[in-house]
C-alpha cells in the first residue's frame, strides 16, 4: 500500500494514499469540526465547516486527499474566522427556536455554534420560507430548519435506494424536497426514518404521538395497553446516559407501569407467534413449491418498498402481519375476551425502534370490525421523553417484569431486533418441527453480524434444503431482488430489515451524531445486547413458549388455521412508483 507523508499543524503524519485530511487528522487526535460529512454516506463538501489552510488556500478537508509534503494548518486565525463565518451564515438562515426544538441539546449545528464560540449572528437577511410538511404518517419535515447538508438525500438514495427526496431549485431557493415539492406522504418514502438519523438538526423528525398517549392514560374509561419491541430494551437506556447497547428490560417495564399503562406486554411474544405462523407458511410454500422465495413481512418500510418498487412480487411477501400487529389483534380479541374488557375501551400502544410502524399502525387492513390493531406507536425516543416528563428516575428504578399472557417470550423472539434474527428464530423452530428432534446448538452464526447480505443453507431432516438470504438496508434488498428477477440467484426465504443493522438501529432509536458514528459500531453494540438477552433466557425456541402453546389450544387452533388467518394475516397493495 502506498503511504503518504505530510504534516498537520507541524505534526508528521503517515497515512495510506487516498486518505482524506479530515480522516487523517481525526485518526491522529486532531480535531477538525465538520457538519455535512457523514462517514461512508455523505461527502458533498457542501457546508465548508471543515476548512483547513493549505498554502494560501482554504480547502474543505473532508474531500481533500492527503499528498506527500502537504503542510496543513487547522488552527490559524484565518481558519477560525472562516469557520466561524460559515456557521454564522448557516445560523443566519436557520429557524433558531432552539429552546423548543426536538433536537435541542442533540443538534450538531448547536454544538458547532458552541464549539466555535459564536455569540452573535451579524448577518440579518431574508430567511428561507417553507411550510412544515406533515403529510407523512411517520415523518415531519421542517424546511426552515434544513441546512441543505444533503445527509438525508445521500441516505435515502445511496443507502436505501428509495430516492424519495433530492435537491430542488437553486441558489437561495434551493431546498430538500420530494419531486414536484410534493408532501413526503405522497411519495415512494418507505418511512424507514434513516433520514432522521442522518439529519444533524431538527429538520426531520418523527410525528410525535406523546400527547395522544397521555390523553388515553388520563382517561378513566380507557384500558391502555402497551407492548415493546425487542430492540427498544437495548437502546432506551442510552437516552438516560447509560452505555450504548445496555439492556434495560427490567427498568423499562417498571417505567412503563409508573407512566400509568394498565398492562405491559412484550412484542417478543408476537415475534414468537410470527415464527409459528411464518414458519408454517414457509413449510407449506416449500411443499407446494408456490410463491417462493417467501419474503419476510415484519418490517413495514420493506413492505412499502416492495409495494412501490416490486409490486409484481407482492405474492412473495408473507401474509403474516408484523409481530406487534399480531399482538395488537390478539389484545383486542383473545385478551379482551379473557379479561371481560370491551375491546372498544382498549387503547393499544406499541413502543417501537421505528417510525415506519406509525404508518403501519394506520393501515386500514390492519384491524377488525372498525377497531385498529394498534392505536398509537411511540418511538424509543418518544418513550424516553415521556419518562423524563413524568420525572421518573430511570437509572434508579427497581426492575419489574412484563405481564402475561403476552409477557413470556423466548430468546427466538428477542433476536428479531437484529438483522438475521427472524431467520435464525425461524430455523430453530422449522428444524425441530420437521425433524421431531431437539436442536442442540440453537445459534445460527452464519446469519449473525451486520453485513448487508448474508446467505445460508440449512438441510432439514426430511432431505429438503432451505436456502435463505438475510438482508439489511434497502439498497441491498434492491440488489437481491434484481438478482432474483434476473434469475442469477435463487432462494427459499428472504429476510429483510430496511434499516442498516436491523431494528436495533431503526429510525426511532436514540440518535447517534456523526462523530460518534465514526468512532463506534453501534449496530454491533446494540445487537450484542440482543444476543445476550437471548442467551439469558431459559427457552430459546418459539414453539416451546408455554403461552404460545396455550394460545393455540385456547383460541387459534393451529398455525395458519382459519382463526389465525382472520386475526394474524393480511394483504398488500400495489403502489405507484412515482
Amino acid at each position: 500500500m502506498d503511504i503518504v507523508k505530510f504534516t498537520i499543524d507541524g505534526k508528521e503524519i503517515e497515512v495510506p494514499k487516498g486518505t482524506t485530511v479530515l480522516q487523517a487528522a481525526r485518526a491522529n487526535g486532531i480535531n477538525i469540526p465538520s457538519l455535512c460529512y457523514l462517514k461512508d454516506v455523505n461527502k458533498t463538501a457542501a457546508c465548508r465547516v471543515c476548512l483547513v489552510e493549505v498554502g494560501p488556500k482554504l480547502i474543505a478537508s473532508c474531500s481533500l486527499e492527503a499528498e506527500n509534503g502537504m503542510a496543513v494548518k487547522t488552527n490559524t486565525k484565518k481558519v477560525r474566522d472562516a469557520r466561524r463565518t460559515v456557521v454564522e451564515l448557516l445560523l443566519s438562515n436557520h429557524k433558531r427556536e432552539c429552546l423548543t426544538c426536538i433536537r435541542s441539546e442533540n443538534c450538531e449545528l448547536q454544538s458547532l455554534a458552541k464549539e466555535l464560540n459564536i455569540r452573535d449572528i451579524p448577518y440579518e437577511g431574508e430567511k428561507i420560507k417553507g411550510d412544515l410538511d406533515v403529510s407523512s404518517k411517520s415523518i415531519v419535515r421542517d424546511p426552515e430548519k434544513c441546512i441543505l447538508c444533503g445527509r438525508c438525500i445521500s441516505t435515502c438514495g445511496d443507502v436505501q435506494s428509495v430516492y424519495a427526496i433530492g435537491y430542488g431549485n437553486r441558489g437561495f431557493k434551493t431546498k430538500v424536497t420530494p419531486a414536484y415539492e410534493r408532501g413526503l406522504g405522497d411519495t415512494v418514502c418507505t418511512n424507514c426514518g434513516q433520514c432522521i438519523m442522518a439529519c444533524p438538526v431538527g429538520a426531520l423528525h418523527e410525528k410525535e404521538n406523546i400527547v395522544d398517549v397521555w390523553k388515553a392514560i388520563e382517561d378513566p374509561e380507557k384500558v391502555v395497553i402497551v407492548q415493546t419491541a425487542p430492540a427498544v430494551r437495548v437502546a432506551l437506556g442510552e437516552e438516560f446516559g447509560l452505555q450504548r447497547g445496555t439492556r434495560v428490560t427490567g427498568k423499562m417495564t417498571a417505567a412503563l407501569k409508573k407512566l400509568g399503562f394498565d398492562y405491559v406486554f412484550d412484542t417478543d411474544f408476537g415475534a414468537d407467534l410470527t415464527i409459528m405462523e411464518e414458519g408454517t407458511e414457509l413449510l407449506n410454500r416449500l411443499n407446494e413449491n408456490k410463491n417462493l422465495p417467501l419474503m419476510s413481512s415484519c418490517c413495514p418500510a420493506w413492505v412499502k418498498f416492495v409495494e412501490h418498487y416490486y409490486s409484481d412480487m407482492l405474492d412473495n411477501l408473507s401474509t403474516c402481519k408484523s409481530p406487534s400487529e399480531m399482538e395488537g389483534a390478539l389484545i383486542k380479541s383473545y385478551f379482551a375476551n379473557k379479561m371481560g374488557i370491551d375491546p372498544k375501551k382498549i387503547v393499544s400502544v406499541s413502543i417501537m425502534p421505528c417510525v415506519a410502524k406509525k404508518f403501519e399502525g394506520d393501515r386500514e387492513e390492519l384491524g377488525k370490525d372498525g377497531l385498529s390493531d394498534i392505536d398509537y406507536v411511540l418511538t424509543t425516543r418518544e418513550l424516553a421523553r415521556m419518562i423524563k416528563e413524568a420525572g421518573i428516575d430511570f437509572n434508579n428504578i427497581e426492575d419489574d417484569e412484563f405481564e402475561n399472557p403476552f409477557g413470556e417470550a423466548t430468546g427466538a423472539g428477542v433476536i428479531f431486533g437484529a438483522t438475521g434474527g427472524v431467520t435464525e428464530a425461524a430455523l430453530r423452530t422449522i428444524y425441530e418441527i420437521t425433524s421431531g428432534e431437539e436442536l442442540k446448538d440453537v445459534e445460527f452464526k452464519a446469519v449473525r453480524g451486520t453485513e448487508g447480505i448474508k446467505e445460508t443453507e440449512v438441510k432439514l431432516k426430511n432431505g429438503k434444503t432451505v436456502k435463505a438470504v438475510v438482508v439489511n438496508g434497502l439498497a441491498n434488498a434492491r440488489k437481491v431482488l434484481d438478482e432474483i428477477k434476473a434469475g442469477s440467484k435463487k432462494y427459499d426465504f428472504i429476510e429483510v430489515m430496511a434499516c442498516p443493522g436491523g431494528c436495533v438501529t431503526g429510525g426511532g432509536q436514540p440518535i447517534i451524531n456523526s462523530r460518534e458514528r465514526e468512532e463506534i459500531d453501534i449496530k454491533a453494540q446494540r445487537a450484542k445486547g440482543i444476543y445476550d438477552e437471548d442467551k439469558s433466557l431459559p427457552i430459546r425456541k418459539s414453539h416451546k413458549n408455554p403461552y404460545i402453546i396455550k394460545l393455540y389450544k385456547e383460541f387459534l387452533g393451529e398455525p395458519n388455521s382459519h382463526v389465525s388467518h382472520e386475526y394474524l394475516h393480511t394483504h398488500y397493495v400495489k403502489r405507484n412508483k412515482f
Binding site: G157, Y163, G166, Y167, G168, N169, Y180, F578
Partner: protein, 165 residues
C-alpha cells in the same frame, strides 16, 4: 429491463411528437450525461417537461425522479408547466437593468395580469426574466419568441403586445 421498455411503448405510435421523444431517449439512455440532452429534446418538442414524460425518462434511463426534478428545477431554461404560445423574455442583465428594464417587466405584467414565470389564462403569453441577450447596445431589450425589441420604454409595451394578439 423489460419494465423500462414497456414504458417507452406507452408513447402512442400515431403521435409523432411522442415517437420523436421516444427515439431520442432510446439513443441517449445508455450515455453518461444523457439526461440534459433528453430534457432539452422534450422541452423543444412539447414546449415544457410534462410529468408523464419525465416518469418515462426516469424508468427508461434508470434515473430517480427526484434527480430529474432536481435538474429540471435547477435550470431556468426548463419549464415544468406548459408555456404560452408566445414567450416574452425581458433582459435583466446589468446593462438592461440599469436602463430600467424592471419597469418594462412590470408594465407587461400589468398589461397581461401575470408575474414573472406565469402564463396568461388564455395560454397566449408566458413572461420570463432572462440574463444578457447579447444586445446591450439596444438596452433595455426583450425578445418575444425569436424577435428582438430594443431601446424600449414602457409606453411601447401595449403596441408590441398587440402585434401578437
Amino acid at each position: 429491463m423489460s419494465n423500462a421498455e414497456n414504458r417507452l411503448n406507452d408513447f402512442d405510435p400515431n403521435d409523432s411528437k411522442g415517437q420523436e421523444v421516444k427515439k431520442f431517449i432510446q439513443e441517449h439512455k445508455n450515455i453518461k450525461g444523457g439526461l440534459i440532452p433528453v430534457l432539452h429534446k422534450i422541452q423543444d418538442v412539447y414546449g415544457y417537461l410534462p410529468k408523464e414524460t419525465l416518469n418515462t425518462v426516469s424508468d427508461s434511463m434508470n434515473i430517480p425522479l427526484t434527480e430529474i426534478y432536481g435538474v429540471a428545477s435547477f435550470y431556468s431554461y426548463f419549464s415544468l408547466t406548459p408555456k404560452g404560445k408566445h414567450v416574452i423574455r425581458v433582459c435583466l442583465g446589468t446593462a438592461c437593468y440599469v436602463k430600467n428594464s424592471q419597469a418594462i417587466i412590470d408594465e407587461i405584467g400589468r398589461e397581461l395580469g401575470i408575474t414573472v414565470g406565469q402564463t396568461t389564462s388564455d395560454g397566449k403569453f408566458t413572461l420570463e426574466a432572462t440574463r444578457c441577450l447579447g444586445a446591450c447596445g439596444l438596452s433595455p431589450v426583450m425578445m418575444i419568441d425569436d424577435k428582438v425589441f430594443g431601446r424600449l420604454v414602457k409606453d411601447d409595451v401595449p403596441k408590441i403586445l398587440s402585434e401578437f394578439n
